[in-house]
């Protein structure tokens, strides 16, 4: 094998403005996708202290239902206004998240809130196994290829590089989702109550907060966020079995880096992971595979609670 020509080329690229913009843009797009995927995970952990391994399955369910319904929309009436497909994407995600979240919370999780945090990880691991096959039973193993909403928006040139407008819109979507989460938590009454639950569950109960209701609501919101991430991703990929398992470790990494349970943390974690990865792809593709775990291990080694995590000293 000849391994010539690469190092000098890379040196040149370091100083290249196009590469610089590309790193920034790719990093931002990837980071917003990561944030969409991780938001639901961190919300559920923040309020309920459940590290939800089945989060990836919600992503997959969102992706599958969106892909199949949008696919059906285009194949059943060819004359239809294609822009409606975006509404279908979001609608699907909301519906799927609502139904799946409600069923799982009411049917299973609410009986187990007294169990310890680690056991809940394993409960959700069991859920992951079940949902993987359930998704397969419902949607089959053939990949769903629902490209219309992706190619419909065309592309924009940024410098010398073309970017798909759909990807740019994804950045907007994640800003909206992040903004909504922030608004609900910081500017509404419900948010205030939620923050009380996050801060100290026992005191919140003592203050008369209906924790059960809060938990149910949070879980459904978290599930819906997962499904939404899947639905918004569906048009740009080929939806096939196993996509849920692939995203779960990524989402973990983002959330752990940012600090479990923190929305701000998820934003920063996503940006850090996204930009680092994009830098690796452009400048040192051979280390791309380790970058995410590397960032995660490094952050954990220096700051075990994550960048925005709180340490709670034990009272003795």
């Amino acid at each position: 094998m000849n391994v010539g020509a690469l190092p000098p080329a890379r040196m040149r690229r370091l100083t290249d403005m196009t590469t610089f913009y590309a790193i920034l843009m790719d990093g931002m797009i990837y980071a917003s996708w990561l944030f969409l995927v991780a938001a639901g995970l961190t919300v559920i952990y923040g309020v309920m202290r459940i590290l939800n391994m089945a989060h990836g399955s919600f992503y997959a369910i969102g992706a599958y239902s969106a892909a199949s319904l949008v696919g059906w929309y285009f194949s059943s009436n060819g004359e239809a206004n294609p822009y409606w497909s975006y509404a279908i994407l979001v609608g699907c995600a909301l519906l799927a998240g609502l139904v799946v979240g409600f069923v799982i919370e009411q049917g299973l999780l609410r009986f187990m809130y007294k169990r310890n945090e680690l056991l809940m990880v394993i409960v959700t691991y069991a859920l992951l196994l079940i949902l993987e096959d359930a998704t397969k039973l419902v949607f089959g193993v053939d990949p769903y290829f629902t490209y219309q909403p992706y190619s419909l928006l065309g592309r924009s040139m940024i410098g010398e590089l073309a970017f798909a407008n759909y990807d740019l819109a994804l950045v907007g979507a994640s800003v909206v989702v992040g903004g909504l989460c922030w608004f609900v938590l910081n500017r509404t009454h419900t948010g205030k109550v939620l923050r009380a639950v996050i801060h100290d569950r026992e005191i919140a109960v003592a203050m008369g907060v209906n924790v059960r209701l809060m938990f149910a609501g949070t879980f459904i919101v978290g599930t819906t966020l997962g499904a939404l991430a899947g639905a918004l991703t569906a048009p740009s990929i080929s939806v096939s079995p196993g996509i849920g398992v692939e995203v779960i470790v990524l989402a973990f990494a983002v959330v752990v880096v940012g600090g479990l349970g923190s929305i701000e943390g998820a934003v920063v974690g996503a940006l850090l992971v996204g930009l680092t990865r994009s830098m690796a792809v452009h400048l040192a593709p051979e280390i791309e595979l380790f970058v995410i775990y590397g960032v995660m291990s490094l952050v954990l080694a220096v700051r075990p609670q994550g960048l925005f995590g709180r340490t709670v000293a034990r009272k003795i």
């Binding site: 056991l119 990880v121 069991a126 196994l129 079940i130 096959d133 039973l137 051979e286 595979l289 775990y293």
Partner: protein, 314 residues
Amino acid sequence: MTYIDRTGLWLIATAAILVAGAFVLPHWLTFILTLALAKALVVQGVVVQMRAGLVSFGQGLFFCVGGYAIGLGGNLLGIHDAFALLALGLVASVGLAAVIGLLMTRYRDIFFAMLSLALSMILFGVLVKSQTLGSTDGFNVHGVSYLGVTFDGANQKIAVYILTVVVSCACALFLYRSQHAGIGRVCEAIRENEIRVEYLGLSPRWILYAQYLVAAAVSALGGGLTALATGHIDPEMAFWTTSGEFVFIALLGGTMHVAAPFVAAVLFAFVRTYAIEFTPHTWQMILGLVLLGIIIFLPKGLWSLVSRNRRVKA
């Protein structure tokens, strides 16, 4: 102080029966048993840490190191003796654990779980990147001898099976003793209340470190025996779903008794084999339902069935 109590005798007797079984049981059965017992050794590693309240979602790391030591020892160092190879894996694994254990013992709960997962995935990444080691395809293990004796075909598998039973029995005896010795009891105490352990004048980190090394050692033996049995190793051994399976089996058996992981691993192997055969499309779902059932109805694992019955009789 090397007395062996009733449980010890039971373990030895079971091992003896299993060894005798090598000449009676069909080969496919001894092979499943070999893999299940080898896997159970890794599960023992998970269980040892679980008793101290730590759940490792990355025990595949040491499983993989043990397995690759067998393959690399043969291909690079020219070692072909099974015992020497197992020892090599053991040393490599404990050496690695000695280094990363310094970091790992600072973490608890979910952070321990996540960091162990990340470290295992880093090894996975390194191996996938190593084209000389066959990347994801891994490579085959050839020509292993047993103290100078080589076996062919089916006899070789019987040799691995007997070796696995013997190693498992030895590990079980050791782990049983340590579970009921100071270190085992203190581990439970750490799970219950780490601050109190510190205020009894003990170092929780030192004790967790020691157990981390023990877990790495038995996991490496499990990896080594798996490699000897299947004759093949690949990076999948370090992938997080492999580690997830070990946690699954650990919960299935429970942490109460040293025999539980062995029983659970054998049961798991059969459940999976038959699930794959009868419902090739939904075997994961069946596993998930079994796991949920265990958590809901038998939170202390299958072993609580046995101990419950015994208490009623007594």
